[in-house]
Point group: C2
């Protein structure tokens, strides 16, 4: 498996290409990912903006089999409850069915990822809507940087919050103090199979409104757009 | 002012360079930003991951002087309350003082930005910690894509939540239905002055823990690290 120096050039990937080919890669090999690779992902993660430039993040790098096992158990607990709902919603939708199969694979192999990152934030945010928005807005841009950088290196990664269904249990698992909030879990590893590739999305013109909600001014005059 | 075709090559910027030189650019020229530029930013924004791939985003593109004026008023209301707190906290910190001066400039010129994006999300998220995390985790990665793409084009942008201090008033301003939540506001425009450039951050080794919180295993043996 490559060490960081062998894959570092990947970070020169054109920005638009990295974004257009980012997808959740959940099927991961057990082969090791070195510390330098993980630290470089984190160095790019912390370049993201935070409210008032507070930089209140803390990153857990989980390599211990015991801690991974506990996170895997928390993940399976949430997934066993959520699965039925997700499956009934996905019925007949091939794309969703494919995602669910990958999430199931991930649940079955969660502790086998060579490294699992848990992105945390100091504080709990003010208990208001703006406080909460500003709180989460100070960690998910960093998480997205981490995911994009992983994509550019060809390192499999996917964002999940399932293992955090109980903050109390997640804090206990990681030894987090009560003023540090776990926000996102990202298992990392070299992909099994193809890994990254182009994604499809609803055309932006359908979800973009000019000045007032409902004014979809960017749709073609006949209401049709080219898929983006 | 450039049209999209003239700046599109910027999106080929190496990923790591875009991240390392992203900063909040708040001093914006009044000169126009064309629709194609805005739509391309949104096309890259929606490449970001969302929980269950729900893609529940809605983007408001605000160009109307009247709507911009109302957002500017909401922004000034929140800023006038927050400013005193922020200033007292920033006392003696030159970096923070510089940020506050830029936020003040932004408050004074908010309605002059040629276009203001408001990133919204369908639904309110389940009223649980995991529900909220997953909710905000489904919009801020897209916002970060938008900010990185703006950086790559040389287009000034900065994330703020101040105009959203009252969701009721923000919804009324934008005509949003009650099941659409405004999450982030991004004024866009060509920069006044220098714009983007390298940023500094606390070394990641100080905020990275191996397996258990407090185990800063990536710090040098003497506890010192090179600034990253």
């Amino acid at each position: 498996m490559p060490e960081f120096a062998e894959v570092a050039d990947g970070l020169q990937m054109p920005l638009a290409e990295a974004m257009r080919t980012q997808r959740a890669v959940r099927r991961l090999r057990v082969d090791p990912v070195d510390d330098e690779t993980v630290l470089e992902l984190l160095r790019l993660a912390v370049k993201a903006p935070t409210g008032s430039n507070a930089q209140g993040w803390e990153f857990m790098v989980v390599r211990s089999p015991d801690v991974k096992h506990q996170l895997a158990r928390l993940n399976r607990q949430a997934w066993s409850l959520y699965r039925r709902f997700a499956r009934s919603r996905a019925r007949g939708d091939l794309g969703q069915a494919r995602i669910l199969a990958a999430v199931q694979w991930q649940a079955d192999h969660f502790e086998d990822a060579p490294v699992i990152i848990v992105a945390c934030l100091q504080g709990r945010g003010f208990p208001s809507n703006m406080g909460r928005t500003s709180h989460y807005g100070s960690i998910f841009p960093a998480v997205q940087n981490l995911l994009l950088a992983a994509r550019a290196l060809g390192l499999g990664a996917a964002l999940t919050t399932l293992p955090l269904w109980s903050r109390t249990l997640a804090r206990r698992t990681l030894g987090l103090p009560s003023n540090v909030t776990p926000c996102a879990v990202i298992p990392l590893g070299w992909p099994v199979g193809g890994g990254y590739g182009p994604t499809s999305r609803r055309p932006v013109e359908e979800v973009t409104h000019l000045d007032r909600y409902g004014n979809r001014a960017f749709l073609g005059l006949d209401g049709r757009v080219e898929p983006s």
